[in-house]
Subunit: 238 residues, 4 copies
DNA sequence: AATGAATGAGGGTTCATTCAT
DNA sequence: TATGAATGAACCCTCATTCAT
């Protein structure tokens, strides 16, 4: 049969196995190429070569460059979600749990730069591919519900504020981590300092943790700043 | 001058005036087109048409699509810097001043979506164009020095922590604002809610302000976090 | 048998029956697709899909797209010949018989637009496929012999001219009917009027009948048909 | 400027002259290639090579293969119309005039086989390109009005029937001539005789003339036409 | 008998860019 | 200063066809 529509190989026989491989290899290569070049500059030929296959097979299995990119997005999102779902956060110690959450997201961005780049590319194109994916719509934000649990636990223990939304906390975590990675090139030039060496990365991770926790913690910071009691002896720094 | 080198028109006569116009029109159109399509997908023809000029003129004035993009980056950065330099922050009331700063950055992103998109595009290409620009390297971060002043003032008044770096505060502000705008498409799909209506925007602006201030303010929350904030090679206090 | 040579299934067993079906379904689908798109634009995939089979089967049974088209031509020609051979023309009344002949051909074109299109397509390719068919060469023009019989009968009755060739009469009938159908699209645009509604079709059928009969009839019938007194001296020509 | 839309070169300077040439050369080559291969099988590369130009220039001047084909159709139709408009028919002798008309059309088909083939190709594609041409819609059938004049003159002289429509007469002439040329390949195989040698062509031209005149003549066409029907190598009787 | 997987040779088209006034 | 014409390298994609069960 000739190829026009995307194809998902059946599940029997040796050939089927090979087909699975080919398809998977192409998808993997596509993630790599699109991550490095973006969608527009990512060449079909680069992908097929990286997959040690042929241009033709991309159309055989995915139908078009666009559809391939859609599947790429679905894949990285699914992988991110799966990684999140495996998180085993410390709900007994919500502060610690939230720190874990921050560290997870931050580390995920570091370990999966393609996740960052692909999302940037997709947003550059106004999300036109994401819109075409039904699967993507189904992938609900598991992460937010996790954050919600942490907040609930923390509020129960009176260590967290009652007036913070899980969505906002999650966005904070994502923003602070994403921006640093996604914009490292212009940022590096702008700041005139390296961003991706270990020390810098560690530092920024701590800043995120600190920032998020301060945003979430209950306590009297605002009042204090507003002219309330500020007992020097109690503070560790200064 | 060789026919491939970029040309900057002289400053005398009517024709020179026309030339200025043409050049400026092309640059303006390029900002628009590159902002919408990204560098790779931004067509030379789209730009020349939007500028009501001809492809040829782009090469006449800018030498190449890449050089044109470099000038685009220089332009938007310069404009941002100029806008920043006009900031008149309330140094007497550092809290208020910092809020002003947050609002300025946030509003700038909103008013200049091309700034956001162009930076994303440039980062997608690993900052290859920015690297070619001497001018861009000269544009030092004025913003950071402004933040530094605010921090100094706040610390003098004991309303701000002593252990925060201006650079970090600036990055926070940028991260929290940039991410929301740059990734609005995938974010909207992921969260399943509108992001760009007035209420949502206002809300997020307040979250940023709150988050930044909590991160900077002196007061109680730090105690709790005391053990946590252990940024390598940075802290000396305690 | 080599895997590239066309296969004609044997005649025993259930599988043979299935094979027959598949082969026939493909052939039928091919007629449809080639008729609509022409040979060049007719896609192998379109055919296999229309036949609810697979590309591969086309090669299994027919060897190549070209061979399939050859069989298509053979089929439609055979069908046309068979239809002709079933004609039971009124030899006692040659005028009526000829009218029947015209009506048959005209109606055949109308009922079998694929016959018209496929011949056009084949001629567009300079008859290259027809040349490859032995069968096609065997299919002699049955039609012409029928026309010959009619002419003989008519000449015996002195209603038909003696100096007309059956071949020419047949070509007339075919020309007048074929052109109208085959070129309906450009003709419709050129004439600026509909061609394929019932009234137009009926009209043209009558024109063909009239034209053919006038071309064939001997002297008197025309006057007779006109019902007028024909006084030689009154006529302007001669 | 980059090419997306079709371009018609300006009219000044030497380059403009060359451009005219290039465009014209491409158009001419396209007529040739499409005539021989049909639209679908006509390769863009074949055309550009035949024109001693480059693929690219086809898109520069015509925008697409389809648009090029549209212009091809417009061109051959316009040329046909111009040729018709130069006809100087003998209105004083309508019989002779009609013979001239027949001969003109017949000869035109013979001299311009591309006219025949291109129309066949276009009809094979259901006139989809013709529909896109505004120009084609304007090209009214000049021919029919000429036939009308002949009929009027003939009717005034009482040599032509009063009940024939110019449109029908024109269609007759076209049908009888077109079919013979357009379907020569399958026809040749079917009839088993050569069609395109001089004798055969002359014969068929006379058949057309005879047929058309008999269809149009009033009164005793057969007797009257007796002298006219002089089909070479065929008649001996009467 | 039937089928999923693989293939390679183009096919039309687009793009940034240079030539020649 | 400005512009129409020309260019060639790719780019995405399609097609008929063969391979290997």
């Amino acid at each position: 049969m000739s190829p026009t529509a995307a194809r998902k190989p059946g599940a029997t026989g040796i050939r089927a196995k090979q087909a699975q491989d080919t398809r998977a290899k192409i998808l993997k290569a596509a993630i790599k190429v699109f991550a490095k070049q973006g969608y527009a500059s990512g060449r079909v030929e680069s992908i097929s070569k990286a997959a040690r296959s042929h241009d033709r097979m991309i159309y055989y299995y995915f139908g078009s460059k666009e559809q391939l990119f859609v599947e790429v997005l679905e894949t990285i999102y699914t992988q991110f979600n799966e990684a999140e779902s495996k998180l085993d956060l410390d709900l007994d110690d919500p502060v610690h749990g939230l720190e874990q959450m921050v560290e997870f997201v931050w580390q995920y961005y570091l370990d999966h730069p393609e996740f960052v780049t692909l999302l940037s590319s997709e947003n550059l194109h106004q999300g036109k591919h994401a819109k075409k994916s039904l699967k993507l719509k189904e992938i609900s934000g598991y992460a937010i519900s996790v954050v919600q649990k942490l907040l609930d636990a923390g509020q129960a223990q009176q260590v967290f504020r009652a007036d913070v939304k899980a969505r906002d906390v999650y966005l904070m975590i994502a923003s602070l981590g994403y921006f640093y990675n996604a914009n490292q090139y212009t940022l590096g030039a702008f700041l005139g300092e390296p961003l991706m060496d270990k020390a810098s990365l560690d530092h920024w991770r701590e800043v995120i943790k600190d920032t998020v926790l301060r945003a979430v913690r209950s306590g009297l910071p605002v009042e204090a700043a507003a002219g309330a009691v500020d007992v020097p002896g109690q503070r560790s720094e200064v």
